[in-house]
Symmetry: C2
Subunit: 425 residues, 2 copies
C-alpha cells in the first residue's frame, strides 16, 4: 500500500529532499570523528555564567513579560541596542528599521516570502551559503551565479552576463564569506552599490561574521555605502526611516553570543520591515520574549564587546593552527583561502578530484568536511573539487590532527590517481 501523503505535498517540496551530501554528513556526527563540517561556534567560549545571571535578572524583574506573548517586531530595548550597535558601523537606523528574527536563517525565509515569486532569479556568489539556497528553494527561485576570487565576487563580464537574467535581488556575504572565507574589497563594494543603484536591483547583505575580524581593517557594509550613495543621488528621497535604499542587511547574535538562542535581525527601509512584520506574524507570531530579554540583559555594560575580544583570540588561534597544519600536511596541487576572519576556509583540490568521494574516504580516517557542491545551486556545473573547512569548533590539537589525517587522505587519492594514469599509459 503506497502512502497517500506522497500525492499531497506541494510542488515546492519536489526541490527539497535528501541529498547524497546530507546522507554523508550524517556520518560525520559520530563522536570519534574530527569534524570540520559544521559551522558551530566553540562551546568553550559561551558565557554560561553571564547567561545564568541574566536569566535570573530577567525573571526577577520582568518575569511575567518574559513569559507572555509580545510584539512581532521584537523587544524594543533589544532593537534599540541593535540600532546603537549598527551606528558604530556608520548605519543610521532607528527601531522601525529593525525586525528581530529566529536567527538570520529566518530572515532569509522572510525575505523569500516577501520578495520571491516562482521562477524569480537570484544572483549569488559562487559558492554561496547553503542555508540561503535551502530557504529560497522553497520559493521556487532560480539562480545565476558569479565566481568569486580573493577579493570577493568578480565584477567582470561574467557579472554583466548574470545581470542579463534580470535578478530580483543579489545575495552577497561581504565579510569572510561562508563558505569561501573571502572578503569583498572596498573597491568592489563601491562598484557593487553603484551597479545596484544603476540597475535598480536590491542587495541582500548577509553579515553574520562582520564582528569576527582577526586582522586587517574593518570595511564599511554595503548598506552604509548605499546610504552614502543615495544621499548624493537623491537628497530629498524620503524623511521616514533611516534611508530608502536598496539594501536589506542581515545580522545575528549566533556567532557573537550563542546560536542556541536563535536570535538575528533584519535592518531595512521601514516599508520593507512592515512587509516583513506582516509575513512573520503568520509565520510564528514573534520570536521568544524570554530569549530576547535574556540576550539584551547579557549584552549590557559592554559585555558583548569584551566577549568578542575573547572569541576573536580563540578563533584566530584556531585559524592559524589550521593554516600552519595545511601548509605542512597538504600536498602540492591543493589550494586554499586565507580568511581574515569568520569561521571557514575553502579548499580547491585538483580538477579531477571529487570532494564527495574524498569525504567517504576521509570518514574512514575519522575526519570530515563539507564537499563544495553543497554551496552551489543545482544548476551550477562546478565545485565538485572543492570543500569547506570550519576552524572555530574543534580544539587546536584536534585541528592539527584532523588536518594531518585529511592531508594523508588527499595524498593517498593523488597517489592512486597517478598510479592509474601510469597504468593507462
Amino acid at each position: 500500500m503506497t502512502c497517500p501523503w506522497e500525492r499531497r505535498y506541494a510542488q515546492r517540496m519536489q526541490g527539497m529532499g535528501s541529498s547524497v551530501i546530507r546522507e554523508l554528513l550524517k556520518l560525520t556526527q559520530q563522536p570519534d570523528i574530527i569534524s570540520f563540517a559544521g559551522g558551530l561556534p566553540a562551546p568553550e567560549v559561551f558565557p554560561v555564567e553571564r547567561f545564568k545571571q541574566a536569566s535570573q535578572r530577567v525573571l526577577e524583574t520582568h518575569g511575567a513579560q518574559a513569559l507572555q506573548y509580545s510584539t512581532t517586531e521584537g523587544y524594543l530595548p533589544l532593537r534599540e541596542y541593535i540600532v546603537k550597535k549598527m551606528c558604530r558601523y556608520g548605519i543610521q537606523a532607528n527601531p522601525a528599521n529593525i525586525l528581530i528574527t529566529n536567527g538570520a536563517q529566518q530572515a532569509l525565509d522572510i525575505i523569500g516570502k516577501i520578495l520571491l515569486d516562482p521562477g524569480d532569479v537570484i544572483l549569488t556568489e559562487q559558492p554561496t551559503y547553503l542555508g540561503a539556497l535551502q530557504a529560497w528553494r522553497s520559493y521556487q527561485a532560480d539562480y545565476v551565479t558569479v565566481p568569486i576570487d580573493e577579493e570577493g565576487i568578480c565584477l567582470d563580464e561574467r557579472f554583466v552576463e548574470a545581470l542579463r537574467a534580470g535578478p530580483k535581488f543579489m545575495y552577497i556575504l561581504p565579510n569572510f564569506q561562508n563558505p569561501a572565507g573571502v572578503t569583498l574589497s572596498l573597491e568592489r563594494r563601491m562598484k557593487l552599490v553603484q551597479i545596484a543603484n544603476h540597475y535598480g536591483i536590491p542587495i541582500v547583505e548577509d553579515d553574520p561574521y562582520g564582528d569576527l575580524r582577526y586582522e586587517g581593517e574593518h570595511l564599511p557594509p554595503l548598506v552604509v555605502l548605499d546610504a552614502e550613495y543615495q544621499e548624493n543621488q537623491t537628497p530629498d528621497c524620503n524623511g521616514e526611516g533611516f534611508y530608502q535604499g536598496d539594501v536589506i542587511y542581515l545580522g545575528t547574535f549566533s556567532k557573537t553570543l550563542a546560536p542556541g538562542l536563535r536570535l538575528g535581525w533584519i535592518l531595512a527601509p521601514e516599508n520593507v520591515i512592515q512587509k516583513c512584520v506582516m509575513a512573520k506574524q503568520g509565520m510564528d507570531l514573534h520570536t521568544s520574549s524570554f530569549t530576547q530579554m535574556v540576550a539584551y540583559e547579557v549584552a549590557q555594560d559592554n559585555f558583548l564587546d569584551e566577549h568578542k575580544t575573547v572569541i576573536r583570540q580563540t578563533y584566530k588561534e584556531r585559524r592559524d593552527v589550521m593554516l600552519a597544519a595545511m601548509a605542512e600536511h597538504f600536498p602540492l596541487g591543493v589550494y586554499w583561502t586565507r580568511p581574515e576572519g569568520g569561521l571557514f576556509l575553502w579548499v580547491t583540490l585538483p580538477e579531477w578530484m571529487d570532494a564527495a568521494e574524498l569525504l567517504e574516504k576521509a570518514i574512514e580516517y575519522k575526519v570530515a568536511f563539507v564537499p563544495g557542491l553543497a554551496f552551489h545551486p543545482s544548476s551550477a556545473k562546478t565545485g565538485h573539487n572543492t570543500c569547506r573547512l570550519n576552524f572555530s569548533n574543534a580544539q587546536p590539537d584536534q585541528i592539527e590532527e584532523g588536518i594531518r589525517r585529511l592531508g594523508m587522505v588527499i595524498t593517498m587519492a593523488m597517489d592512486e590517481h597517478k598510479a592509474k594514469e601510469l597504468m593507462a599509459v
Copy 2:
C-alpha cells in the same frame, strides 16, 4: 518619488495587508482599556519561580548544549516527554512522529509550506482561527467554510457541498474552538474521521486548549479516532511510526506553560514529519535549544499537571464571572456560546448590527473585543454581527466592569436603531 520596493514584492503579499480591524485593534492596546480582544493567558499564573530554578539548572548542567546549535527535529527529551503526555490521550507515538516548532503558529506555516500550492482549497469551520488564515494566505490558498453550531462543525448538506470544492485538507479545532468556544461532539468526531478516510482528505487538528477543560468529559482527539478507524480498515498498513493515518495533530505549551517561549509541536506520520523537518531547516534551522531545555526542566516531576489545575481554576472562575455578567448586562436579542473550556466565547448580535462599528463605540467606553469578521476568510460573506471575547486575561473585577460597559454600548446601539426605525415609519 515612489518607492521602488512597492514593485518588488511577491504576489502573495497582495493578500496580506493592514485591515480595518487590525487598525482598530491597535487602539485596544491603550493601558486604560479593559481588553477582551487578545488571546493572552493570565500572567498571574505564570510559574516564574519554577522558571528561575529551571533556567539555573539547565545552564549549570548543560550550559554549552543549551547555547549551541541543535537538531531541527527538536530536543529529544522534550519530544519523549510529549510522546508520554500524548500517550495519556490514547495516542501511540514515538519521537520520530514529533517536530518541535516555534509555537503552533509555526506549525501552521510549515503545514502550508509542505502541502499548499496556490489555489489549493482548505475546508475550515466558520468562524475559524485568524492565525491559520494569516499563515495560509501567504500560500495563496482558497477557502470553503462550513458553519458551526453548539456541537462544532455542521456535518450536513453544507459540509457535503464544501467537499465538492476538493479541499486539500480540513482544518478543525475540536476543543473550545478559537474563536467560538464550542466543542466538537463525539458523534461528529467519529463521523468526520469516517468522511476523511472515505474521501481521502487529511485533517489538520489544532488543539491548543485540549488541556483546559473546566467541566464535562474529555473527548478523544481526531488523531486517536483516526488511528482506531485505520486499524480496523488496514491492519497491516505500515510498521513504521505510530500510524500512517490522515491526521496532523498540533499541540502547544503556550496555554499551559508560557507563550513567551514559543514552543509547540506537530504530531504526524513519520514521512510527514520528515517533510516538515526539511521545510523547517530552511525556515530557521531549529527552535531555540535554551527554551526547549528550560521547558523540559520546568515540566519535570509532574509539575505541568499540578500547574494545569491552577490554570483551570483561574480560567473557570473568569469564564463564570463573564457569563454571569453577560446574563445581567446584555440586552435581549444578543446570544453567546457557553464554552466548557479554553479562553474564548462568541457573541452573536442582532443581524443588522455591525461589530466593527460597535468596537469603535466600545473603545470610547474603554472596552474592547475582536469583531467576528476577522475570523472569516475574505470570501465568506457573513459574520459582521459577531464578536469574540477572551476571558482568560483580565481579572474578575475587570471582567465584570468590562461586560457592564459592553452591555451599555450594545444597549445604546439598539436604542438608537429603534429610534431610527421609529423615525423612518
